[in-house]
C-alpha cells in the first residue's frame, strides 16, 4: 500500500432492501430513480455510490433522515452486507473477508460511535470502555490502564465506576467516544454522535471533538443531518439524498458552487463568508502587481471583512501557513462573498 492509496474506497456501492435484492440489482439497466425502484418493491438505501477517503481526512456525510447515510456508513464497516459494488479498506475488499478477518479488522483498525450511544447498561464506564480490549483478549491490567487513559482523554476522570444510566447524555456519549478510541483505531466512524444531545452540549462536544481530532489525526467518517455541524467539522462533505451522493466536495466549494438544486437549498441560508477561506478564492497571480502584507489562506472571508472594506488594493496576496505566496485574491470577488453579489 502506498501513501496515495485511499484508506477507504467504495466503487459503485448499492444497498437494496427487499425480497431478492441481488437478483433485482442484476436485472437493472441504466440508472433507475428511487421511486422506480420502490415501485418494484425494493427500498434503495444506497445507490451507486463511489467515494474515496484519504488518510487523515474527515469526510462528513450529510443527509436528512431516510437519505441512506446511516446505512452507507454501516456498509463501510460491513455491519450491513452490500448488494452490489465493492468497499475496500486499506486496499482489502471487506466483502470477501471471512468472519474472523472481519472481527480482526474491527478489533484493530475500526472504532464507531453511535447516535444513541449503544452502551452496555450492566457495565460501568470503565468496563464499557475496556470492552473492545476485553473482546480481543488483553489482560486485565493492560485493559484497565488503557481504559483509564482514554477516559481521561475524553474528560471523564473520576466517573470510572458509574453506570451509564447514572450519567447525562453528553457524558454517555463521551463514554461512547472513549470506547471507540480504546483500541487506537485508524478509522473512526461516527454515526450522528451529537444528534441526541441538547444544542449547547452539542456545541461543546463538537469543540471537544475537534480538539481530539487535532491530537489524534484519524481518518474519519462522520454522519450528521445538521448542515452547520457538517460545515464546522468537515474536510469534505458528501451530501446524500435518496441513497445518492448529490455532491462531494469541500465546504467552500459546496457553498460557492452547489452542484444541484437540492444542495442549493441547504446553502441558501448559510452565511458564506463564515465558510469560505481566502485560499479558495486565490487565483494565479497572472501579472497583477501585488503589494502589502499577504493574508493567510486559512482565514475566512468574514474574519477578513474589516480589511476587505477598508483596503484599496484590487488584488490581495494570499500566503500559505509556511509564509510563501500561493496566489492573489480579487477583493471584489471576496466582497461579493461577504455581501452577496451586487444585483
Amino acid at each position: 500500500m502506498t501513501a496515495a492509496t485511499p484508506v477507504i474506497s467504495c466503487k459503485n456501492v448499492w444497498k437494496l432492501f427487499g425480497a431478492n435484492p441481488e437478483q433485482y440489482l442484476k436485472s437493472l439497466t441504466g440508472n433507475p430513480g428511487f421511486d422506480e425502484i420502490r415501485q418494484a418493491g425494493y427500498i434503495a438505501a444506497v445507490r451507486d455510490v463511489s467515494l474515496e477517503i484519504a488518510k487523515g481526512e474527515m469526510l462528513v456525510i450529510m443527509g436528512l433522515s431516510g437519505s441512506g447515510k446511516s446505512t452507507f456508513v454501516r456498509c463501510l464497516s460491513r455491519l450491513i452486507d452490500i448488494t452490489g459494488g465493492e468497499v475496500r479498506v486499506e486496499g482489502q475488499n471487506i466483502g470477501d473477508m471471512s468472519e474472523k478477518e472481519l472481527i480482526d479488522l474491527r478489533r484493530n483498525k475500526m472504532g464507531m460511535v453511535f447516535q444513541s450511544f449503544g452502551l452496555l447498561p450492566h457495565r460501568t464506564v470503565l468496563d464499557n470502555v475496556a470492552f473492545p480490549l476485553e473482546m480481543r483478549g488483553q489482560d486485565r491490567h493492560e485493559r484497565r490502564a488503557r481504559a483509564l487513559e482514554v477516559i481521561e482523554l475524553v474528560g471523564l476522570s473520576g466517573r470510572e465506576d458509574y453506570f451509564p444510566r447514572e450519567l447525562s447524555g453528553g457524558q454517555q456519549q463521551r463514554v461512547g467516544i472513549a470506547r471507540s478510541l480504546a483500541i487506537e483505531p485508524d478509522i473512526w466512524f461516527l454515526d450522528e454522535p451529537f444528534s441526541a444531545l441538547d444544542p449547547l452540549i452539542r456545541r461543546e462536544m463538537q469543540d471537544e471533538f475537534l480538539r481530539l481530532q487535532e491530537m489524534l489525526g484519524k481518518t474519519i467518517v462522520f454522519i450528521t443531518h445538521d448542515f452547520d455541524e457538517a460545515l464546522r467539522l468537515a474536510d469534505r462533505i458528501a451530501i446524500m439524498k435518496d441513497g445518492v451522493v448529490e455532491q462531494c466536495a469541500t465546504p467552500d466549494q459546496i457553498v460557492l458552487n452547489p452542484a444541484t438544486e437540492y444542495v442549493a437549498k441547504f446553502t441558501e441560508e448559510i452565511e458564506k463568508s463564515r465558510v469560505v477561506h481566502a485560499g479558495v478564492l486565490a487565483r494565479e497571480v497572472n501579472g497583477h502587481s501585488l503589494t502589502g502584507t499577504p493574508i493567510g489562506e486559512k482565514q475566512t472571508i468574514s474574519e477578513l471583512a474589516r480589511l476587505l472594506v477598508n483596503d484599496s488594493r484590487d488584488f490581495l496576496p494570499v500566503a500559505n501557513t509556511a509564509g510563501s505566496l500561493i496566489g492573489a485574491m480579487s477583493r471584489q470577488e471576496a466582497l461579493d462573498v461577504l455581501l452577496g453579489e451586487a444585483s
Binding site: R74, S77, L79, E99, I103, D104, R106, R107, N108, M110, G111, M112, F114, Q115, S116, F117, G118, L119, L120, P121, H122, R123, T124, F131, P132, E134, M135, R136, G158, D161, Y162, F163, R165, E166, G176, R179, S180, I183, F189
Partner: protein
Amino acid sequence: MTDQTMTLAEKNHSWTRAKTGWAIFAAACLLAIGNSVLPAGLVRPPEWLVLPFADWINAIFAFLRDDLGLLYLTRAFADGVEWLLDVTANLLYGKNRWPRIGPIPWTVIASIGFVIGYALQGWRLSLLTGGTFVWIAVMGQWKWAMETLSVIVVAAPFSILFGLVMGICAWRSKTFERILNPILNIAQSLPHFAYMIPVVVFIGVGPKAGAIVTIIFSVPPMIRMSLLGLRKVPHEVIESGHMCGSTRWQLLRHVRIPTARTEILVGVNQVIMQCLAMVVLASFIGMPGLGQKLLQLLQALKIGRSVEIGITIVLLAVMLDRCTKAWATKQPEHFEKGTSFAVRNKFLLLGAGLSLACLVLAQFIPLMDQIGRRDAFTISKPIDAVADWFIVLIDPITQWLRWFLITWVLIPIRDAFLWMPYAAVLALLAAAGWAIGGLRSALVCLAFFGLIAMSGWWDRAMITVYTVVVAVSIAAVIGFPLGIWGSFHEKRAALALLICDTLQTFPSFIYLIPVVMLFGVNDVAVIGAVVLFAAVPLVRYTIEGLRQVPETLIEAADMSGATRSQTLWKVRLPMALPTIMVGVNQSVMFSLFMVIIAAFIGTQDLGQEMQRALSSTDVGKGLVLGLAVAFMGLMVDHLVTTWAKTKKEALGLE
C-alpha cells in the same frame, strides 16, 4: 392506489364480513329452533364422528414407554432429580439423606430472608421475607413449608436454565420458533391436571413426580420471556458489540444476555410463581407439603386450620413475587472510590454474621432451632369462631343466594347449554369467527370445537363452557364497574392495581378457601371461586386500559365541553377497549383453569373426568380432556386477539 380507496375497500370488506357473520348466525338460530325435528346426527355428534383419540394417545405413549424405552430415560432423570431433592430435603427439614447435616435452624433461614429482602429493596421487603419465615416457624408449619420449598429450590433452576436455552434456540432459528410457538400456546392453556397424568405414568407419584411436573409446567413463560428479551436488545447496542470485535459467542454472553437482563429476570419471576402454583396442586399426585395439608383440611372442612395454611401460601407467594421483581428491576449502582471491602459487601457480611450467630444460639436454645407442633401457636380456634359466627350471620343470605342461583340461574342456563344441538353451537361459533376475522377465524373456531365434538366429551365440555360463561359474566358485572371506579383517581388506581397484582400471585387453590367456607361444597361454591379468580384480571386491565388513554385526548374532550360521563363513554372506554379485551381473554383462561381445579369440590364437567383419569392414570383420556379445555381457551384467545388487533390498528395504537 390512494389511501382513500384503500379504506373504502377495507370498509366494504368488513361489511360483507359482518353480513356473512349474521347469515351464519341466522342459520345457527334455525338449527337451535328446529332442535326437536333435527336428525339425531346434528343434535349430538354421531358415533361414527367420535374418534378414539384417547386410544391413539395411549398407543403412542405405550410405544414411547415400552418399545422406545423412554421409561428408563425418564426414570434416570427422575432419580437425578430425586437425589437433588434429597439434598435440599435434608438441609431444609432434616430428611435422613446425604449430606445428613440438616435441618438448618429456622432462625438461620429467617435471618437470611431478612438480609436478602433488605439488600433487594429495603426494610419493607426485609420485613416481608423475614416475617414470612417467622410466621411459618411460629405457626408450626415449618416442615410442610420446607417440603414445598425444597421442591421449588430444585425445580426452578432447572426450568430457568432449560427455558433460557430453548429461548436462545428459538431466537437463533426461525424454524425452531415456528415449531415451538404452537406447542407453547397449547402448553400454556392446558390445565394443570393434564400435565400430571403423563408424569404419573412415567415417573410415579411423590416428591420427584411433583418436582418434574413443576419443571415442565413452569418452562413456557421462561422461553417466552428469554425470546422477548433477546429480541428487545437495542439495535445499536448489538452493532456496538460487533464494532468492538465480538465473536458470536462473546456477543451472546457479554452483550445480548446481560442487556436482556430485565426480561429474563421477569421470566425467572414467572417461573417461580408457576412453580409455587404447581407445587401446591401437585398434592393431587402425592406431593407432600402445604398443598397436601390444605387439601386434607379443606376436604375435612376445617376452616380455621386451612386459613392458617392459606395465609402461609399467600405469604410465600407474595414474598417470592416481590423478591424476584425487586431483583429484576434493581439497577446497578456504583460505590464511591475508596469504599472499603466491608461496606461494599455489607449485605454478604451481615447475612453471614447473622446466620452464624443464629446457628450458635440454636445449639443452646432449642426453640431457635426448631419449633415443634406442641410449642407452636395457632389461631385456628378464633378463626373458626369468627367464621362460624359470620356464617351463621349471613346464612340466610347465602342460603337464599344458593337457592336462587341454583334454581333460577345455574340449572336453567346449564339445561339451555345442554339442550343446544352441537351443530347449532358450531354454527354460532363460526358466525362469531367470521364476523371478527373472516373465513380464517371461522375455520379456526370450527376446528377447535369440532375436535371437541369428535372427542366424545361434548356434554361434559358444554358444562365446562356453561360454568365459564356464567362465571365470566358475573365477574364482568362486578369487575367492569369496579375497574372504572378504580381508574378515576390516580391513588385509587395505584392501590387497586397493587391489590390485583397481589391477588394474581396467589396460587389458584387459595381461592377455594373462602367459597367453601361460605357456600360449602356445591355448584355455587365452584362458580364463586371462578368468579373471584376471573374478576381480578378484568379489574386490572380495565384500570390499566383507562389509565393509558393519552392525557391530551382527555384534555381535548374536556375542552370540547364533554361531561365526565361523556368523556368516559365516548373517549376513554373506546380507547381502552383493546386493553380491556386482553383482560377478558385472561379472565376466560383463568376461569378455565379454575373450573378444572374446582372439580374436586364437585362438578360434573371435564374437570371431574380429568380427576378420574388422574386416579386411574389414563394418559389418553387425561390428555384428550386437557386438550379439549386448551382448545376452548385457544379459540377465545384467537378471537379476542384478532379482534383487538383490528381494533388497535383502527385506533392507530399500533
